[in-house]
Structures are given as C-alpha cells and as structure tokens.
C-alpha cells in the first residue's frame, strides 16, 4: 500500500466535538480508547491517491472535509498537510495554505455571484498575488481544460449547473494545489453533468493530482482508488480498489473497453 512517497495528508488522533458538558457531540471520534475516551481518527492519504470518503449524513464526513480543507480546526489531534503541521498556523498562514495547497469543489458550486467565469478562476491567483497577464493566461488554460473556454465571459446565472461545477473545478485546479478536495461534487447535478465532472476529476487524478472526494453515492465512489467509510465519527472500513500509481478505475475501464 505504501508507495514510498511521503503522504500528502497525515491525520493523527483527530477529534472534533461541538458543545459543552452533557450536550457535547463528537462529530469525529474514532474508535474508543482503552479508557473509554475517543481515540480519534487516523488517516494517511498518499500523493496521487484518489480517496472517496463515504458515510450517511451525520457520520462526520463533512466535518472531516472541513478539517482537511483547513476551514475548521480539530478539537484535538495533529494534521500534517504536505508535511506542514497546520495546527500551528495562524489565520493568515491558514489562508495561504488554503490558497496554495487546497482546491475546493463544493456541492453547491459556491461561485462568487455576478462574476464572470474567467474572473472566478482568476480569483485564487489574485489572492496569491499573481500578475494580471499571467493570471489571465493560467485561468484561460484551466477553463480550456474543463472545456469552457468559450464561456469565459459568462456569469454564474448564465451557466448550467454542470457548467458552473466545471468552472468550480477550473478554479480549484488553477493554483496547482497539492490536493483537490471535493465535497459531494455531483450532489446537485444530473447524470450527464455528473459524468462530465467526474471525468474531469478522474483526468486530474490520472495526471497525478491527489483527490479526496466526499460522497454518499456508490456510483461516484466507484471512480475512486480507495474508499473510506465513516460511521458515527469513526472509520469503519478502508478499501483499496486500485493501486495508488495506477490510473483511476473509471479511466482504466474505458481503456479496457
């Protein structure tokens, strides 16, 4: 299972709880330790891996996703992203980590309203301080990659759901992040758009991008190389479908077909 490369994600004994006292809710707890307290979640994700995190609603998968995306901080435990312990970073450094190392794709697209597709994709580059000409060039390249070069001037309300999600994918990959984090990316899409978006993500992974995808659909999870299942805040199964260095299963199937 080990590829010899250092893992992109390394979480150790991570727990997350909300509330205080009797009302405390452990959204992430892992297996119980010998003394009955939560041990916390351990998870490694190797570079180039394609992990689907599955679980029913309330299983803690969104909490895990928020922690992995540095949008939320764990109650306890260590999180190393690309070798950096993000637990020790202040707000400004976390913003930098989100900007440089993580690309987000959300279920509800989360495009900035009233902004053209090109400007959407340029946004993370603008926050990274990239020059305007370079920004434009890279944003156009990303839009071309998702097949929306001809929609660069369109605003979110002029795009279909599938197109909006493809803009979001372009925006997520334009900074060449260490990891693509997708939270139910196909949850709001019809089956054709689902195939398009998943095809894009498969392609990115085939070119070496690490992908962590939250989903509750088996259809979608079939695209991943590894499937992690969460129940009540703990990992209950961790199944590898394809080796890390092989192409994603869906692409491999196409080749065989």
């Amino acid at each position: 299972m080990s590829t010899g490369k250092p893992p992109v994600i390394q979480i150790r004994r991570v727990t997350k709880s909300y509330g205080h006292g009797d009302a405390v809710v452990h959204a992430l707890r892992g297996p119980d330790g010998p003394d009955g307290t939560p041990h916390g979640v351990d998870l490694d994700v190797a570079e180039g891996d394609y992990v689907a995190v599955m679980g029913s609603s309330g299983s803690g998968k969104s909490t895990l996703m928020n922690i992995l995306g540095c949008l939320d901080v764990p109650t306890a435990g260590r999180y190393l992203l690309d070798g950096t312990d993000v637990g020790h970073l202040d707000e400004g450094q976390l913003a930098l980590v989100r900007n440089r190392k993580i690309g987000f794709v959300f279920q509800s697209f989360n495009l900035v309203p009233r902004t053209t597709a090109l400007a959407q994709v340029e946004l993370p580059l603008a926050y990274a301080g990239v020059r305007a000409a370079e920004r434009r060039r890279r944003a156009m390249a990303a839009l071309t990659l998702v097949g929306l070069a001809d929609r660069a001037g369109h605003k979110p309300n002029q795009l279909s759901g599938g197109q909006q999600q493809r803009v979001a994918v372009a925006r997520a990959l334009v900074t060449a992040p260490a990891m693509l984090l997708a939270d139910e990316p196909t949850g709001n899409l019809d089956s054709r758009s689902t195939e398009e978006v998943l095809g894009l993500i498969d392609g990115l992974n085939a070119r070496g991008r690490t992908v962590v995808m939250i989903t509750h659909e088996d259809e979608v999870a079939r695209h991943a190389k590894r499937v992690v299942r969460l129940v009540d805040g703990a990992i209950v199964s961790d199944v590898r479908q394809t080796p890390v260095d092989a192409p994603p299963p869906a692409l491999a199937a196409e080749v065989v077909a």
Binding site: L71, D72, L96, V97, N99, N110, A126, Y127, G129, R171
Partner: protein, 400 residues
C-alpha cells in the same frame, strides 16, 4: 496590484446594488453639501455685515444720550450746543468734523405717490462724509442751506426709486408732513445689510427738520469724524472731556452720554454672525454624521447579505486584510463619491442667494467637509468590514 484588485471588487459590490449605493451616497452628499452651503451662508452674512459697517466709515464715532439709569441725576440730553462745543474746541485735534443728527419719521408725497421712508434725518453737511454717504446725482445741501433753514432734501436710492420710479428726482418738489422739500441730490446705493436698508432715507438740513418735525430741543446723536481710523480712541477721550465740561460732570464713570465707534459695532455684529455660522455648521455636521451612520447601516446589511461570498473568498485563500480592504474600499468609495457630489452640490447651491444673503464659500469648509466625509467612510465602514474579515470561513460558508 492587490490594492487595485480590491478597488475593482469594491466597485463591483457597489454596482450590484445601485439603488442602495445611490441612496447611501445621497446621505453623505446632503451632509457635505449642507456643511459647505450653511457655512457659506453664515460667512456670507458676516461678510455683508462687515462691508456695511465699513461702508459707514471706520473713523466715525457716534455720540448718543445715555438713558438715565434711574438715579436722581436725570441725564442731560445732547444738544446742538454740545455739537458746537465739539466743533469749536481747539484742543481736540483728533476731531475732524461734527454733525448733530435728529431722526424722525413721516410720509413723503410726490404727486399722488405716497411713501414712508425708513428714516428722515436732519443734520449738517459734514454728515455725508462722516457717514460715508456719497452722492450719485445732483448735489449735497450746503452749509448755507443749513444756516437759512432751506427746505431741501437729499434722498437715499431706495426712497428715490419708490417716489420717482424712472423719473429724475433732481429739482422736484416732495411734501413730507405738510412741508415741501426740493430734492437736490440722490445718494449712491450702499446695499442692504440684511437687517435694515441704509438707502431708505431722506436727509435734510438740521434746522429745517427741527422746525418742521422735532422742535428745537435735543438731538438724537452727534456724529463725529475722527481725523483717521487710528485716532478714534484719542477722539473718543477728547469728546468725553469736552462733553463732561458742557454737561458739568465730574466723575468720568458717571457720564450721561455714550460714544460708540464703528469698530466696536463691527466686532459686536461680527461675533453675532460668528455664533450664527457656528450654529449652522453644527446642524450641518450632524447631518454629515447621520450620513456616516447610513454608511455603517448599509455596509452591515451588505456584509450579512454577502456572508456566503465572504466564505467562498476565504476558502479560496483570501487573507483577512484583503477582505477588510474590500469592504473598507466599498464604504470609502461610497463616502468619496457622495462627498465629491456633495462638494459639487454645495458650490452650485452657493450661487443662489439664501434669504437675501449671498453665500460666500469658505475654501477650508470644502476641503474640511470632503476630508471629514472620507474619514467618516473609513471610520464607519471599519466596523462592518472588520466583522466581515473576522468571519470564520466555515461559518461563512454554511450561512444561508
């Protein structure tokens, strides 16, 4: 480059809600325009007062009888003899000329036109120079006219216009209180001060007016011209000394007459208009403050409304400072544009006269109002901007 980007985001944010942005700007616009305009009105009235008082002549002194303070010693009225004593005094070099003045009122008739001038003044020819009254047409009456009590009169420009309209008044005969007067001249208009009209006057020789109206008793005032503006104090002490002699007074603290010079009148009126200006400015400043609160209000709404967008931006790696900058730029842009339009409105508005006062724009007030408005945008925008910047990305993203 990041700063430029922030301004672009801010412009986009404002353009998204045009009506709201315009209304917020209107608040600042009204604040700035009213500061500029009201201060200009206050300043305009103070300039007008200053001009009218200096037009009376800064080296003239007015001696008037002091009202008796209820003490046993009844105040002695001023008389023509007092004036003559002042005029003939050899040891008072600071006194240049003296003119006793009686004032009365009455109705003037010319043909079938009847008009009541503001004042009918009986005096000596020296009055014209002392009171800075210049002739526009015809001539002043002479000392000879005074000695012979001739029934002649010089009209102020307002009175002349009311009685004669387009006709030439020189040599015409008017009747005041049954006495016929021949008009010898018309004075140059001095312009209204906003309090009274100095041009609404009829000036005639002292004995003529006394004979016809007031009787040969006391005079209302004695107008004294000092030799120059610098010798008014000296002239004042000369007058005090001479009149104490004629009134047989010993104690200089208990005199029965009062000497006022135009400079003291000027400073008194000036302080009145200054209070007036400060009051107007305060009212305007409050409206500017209200405009600023409008900015805070609308920016808070904007931040709440765009919480999700802030979350997205933060997820994409927007640093706190950039979010702060974006919203501060938005509020400052509102105030800068509002203030700019307000300056424009204030300057345009100051070209119209307000209740008879011609506003005079104070350049400092334009700069000051603009700067304060911009500062208000920054200050009142900082609370909502700070609130936006300190949102946690996860909370902002979950916001519906």
């Amino acid at each position: 480059m990041i700063a430029w980007q922030m301004i672009r985001f801010a412009v986009g944010g404002l353009a998204a809600n045009k009506v709201r942005s315009a209304l917020t700007m209107l608040g600042v616009l009204i604040g700035v325009a009213s500061v500029i305009l009201l201060l200009a009105v206050g300043n305009g009235s103070s300039v007008a007062v200053k001009e009218s008082i200096t037009s009376l002549g800064t080296n003239s002194l007015t001696v008037s009888s002091a009202a008796s303070r209820g003490s046993a010693t009844a105040a002695k009225k001023l008389t023509v003899e007092d004036a003559e004593a002042l005029a003939s005094a050899t040891d008072a070099p600071a006194v240049k000329s003296v003119a006793p003045v009686v004032t009365t009122s009455g109705t003037a008739l010319y043909g079938n036109i009847s008009y009541q001038p503001g004042q009918i003044v009986g005096t000596y020819p020296a009055y014209f120079e002392t009171a800075n009254q210049k002739i526009a047409e015809g001539d002043y009456f002479s000392a000879d006219d005074v000695l012979n009590s001739r029934k002649v009169a010089v009209l102020g420009s307002t009175t002349a216009k009311e009685l004669f309209a387009a006709e030439d008044p020189i040599g015409k005969r008017i009747t005041i209180g049954g006495t016929p007067f021949t008009v010898t001249g018309v004075l140059t208009a001095k312009g209204s001060t906003g309090f009274n009209d100095p041009d609404d006057v009829v000036i005639a020789p002292l004995p003529t007016v006394q004979n016809a109206f007031t009787g040969f008793g006391s005079v209302n005032q004695i107008l004294v011209q000092a030799s120059s503006a610098d010798t008014t104090t000296e002239a004042q002490s000369d007058i005090t000394r001479i009149l104490m002699g004629t009134h047989a007074l010993k104690d200089p603290t208990k005199v029965d007459f009062r000497i006022s010079n135009q400079t003291s009148l000027l400073s008194a009126r000036e302080s009145t208009t200054k209070t007036f200006t400060v009051l107007l400015g305060a009212v305007a400043a409050i409206s500017l403050l209200v405009g600023g609160i409008g900015i805070t209000n609308i920016m808070l709404v904007t931040v709440t409304e765009r919480t999700r967008e802030i979350g997205i931006r933060k997820a994409l790696g927007a640093p706190r400072a950039v979010i702060l900058g974006q919203f501060l730029a938005e509020s400052t842009l509102l105030s800068v544009i509002g203030a700019g339009l307000g300056v424009l409105a204030g300057i345009v508005g100051s070209h119209f006269s307000v209740v008879g006062i011609k506003p005079v724009v104070i350049p400092e007030s334009v700069l000051g109002a603009f700067a304060i408005a911009v500062a208000i945008g920054l200050f009142f925008g900082s609370y909502p901007a700070n609130r936006a910047a300190s949102l946690r990305p996860i909370d902002a993203l979950r916001h519906e």
